[in-house]
């Protein structure tokens, strides 16, 4: 899950410990390590052109309240959850409850189809929009599992819910997406 980038072999926990005592380089290293994954998550959640600003906001909020981070949780998923809340705040602030459609370029093309099956561009576009319309918890659970590849235990820890609830949210999300796409 964690990919060292620029910062050698230091783990997330070590970098977090350094940031707790004010090491700005450690904070920067954590941003470099996780920013693109957080950006993918937020873009898929419907952040659109606000994605970069929201990534910055998510990390800023995370570092401000780092004392509330549980050491056994997944830092990246925790930041994603904070980003999800920031996205909600942004929509509320601007009164924009409509879903921000993903840019066309963000919809994967057929090269990502492992079965060689041609899924229509229309289906992909609609899926991208419908994910953004899911209830927040369903959307976050769905993306953390389907896009980020986290297991239910990590998802539950990041979203402060139970493993069972996370499974239910995922099931409902997939069911709902299938219904609107069929």
């Amino acid at each position: 899950m964690t990919v060292p980038e620029r910062d050698g072999a230091l783990s997330d926990a070590e970098l977090i410990a350094r940031w707790r005592v004010g090491d700005e380089a450690a904070a920067s290293a954590l941003v470099h390590r996780h920013a693109r994954a957080v950006a993918r998550f937020l873009a898929a959640a419907g952040a659109g052109e606000e994605t970069e600003d929201l990534v910055q906001e998510a990390f800023f909020r995370a570092f401000r309240k780092i004392d509330t981070f549980r050491g056994d949780a997944n830092f990246r998923a925790w930041v994603m959850r904070i980003g999800s809340n920031a996205l909600k705040d942004l929509r509320r602030k601007h009164g924009r409850w409509q879903v921000l459609a993903l840019d066309e370029r963000d919809v994967p093309d057929e090269r990502f189809d492992p079965h060689g099956e041609a899924i229509s561009r229309d289906l992909e576009q609609r899926l991208a929009v419908e994910i953004g319309r899911l209830p927040e918890m369903q959307r976050d659970v769905f993306l953390l599992r389907a896009q980020q590849g986290l297991d239910y235990a990590a998802i539950a820890a990041a979203l402060d819910t139970s493993v069972g609830a996370a499974r239910v949210h995922y099931h409902h999300a997939v069911k709902r997406l299938k219904q609107v796409l069929e």
């Binding site: 941003v31 693109r36 993918r40 970069e52 570092f63 919809v107 389907a146 896009q147 997939v174 299938k178």
Partner: protein, 133 residues
């Protein structure tokens, strides 16, 4: 049209790739750090208050010393009551500076973690005795 679970999951796995490649990670990192510094700036007045508390504690120590020389009739417990609350408000490192300035015999400042509570009875007695002259 039948949509399978794996179709949905496969497409979802690829969403957001292009946007993620486009974001400027260096710019995000710099922005985060600058905002965190700015937040520290907002909190600085509180630190200034603490330094004023240090100055007040030192002034109090000097004043108490002066008064104890001049007026032996003052009860010994009164200075402790006045000084202890001020000292108790200082952070550990701030208290350490006060202690260093008093040139105590017992080395205490490097042992401080949480403030006055880290001092043993002997160290606390010496501190108060020094402040009282």
């Amino acid at each position: 049209m039948t949509v399978r679970d794996e179709d949905i999951e496969r497409i979802a796995a690829g969403l957001g790739r292009e946007t993620a490649e486009q974001v400027d990670v260096d710019r995000i990192a710099v922005g985060v750090v600058e905002r965190l510094r700015a937040r520290d700036g907002i909190e600085r007045p509180r630190r200034t208050f603490r330094w004023l508390a240090i100055a007040a504690a030192l002034a109090l120590a000097a004043g108490v010393t002066f008064m104890s020389v001049r007026t032996r009739s003052v009860s010994e417990g009164a200075e402790q009551i006045a000084a202890a609350p001020l000292l108790d408000q200082l952070l550990a490192e701030e208290l350490a500076e006060v202690l260093d300035s008093l040139s105590l015999r017992a080395p205490v400042s490097e042992q401080l973690r949480n403030g006055l509570d880290d001092l043993d009875e002997r160290q606390l007695e010496e501190l108060l005795a020094t402040m009282e002259g």
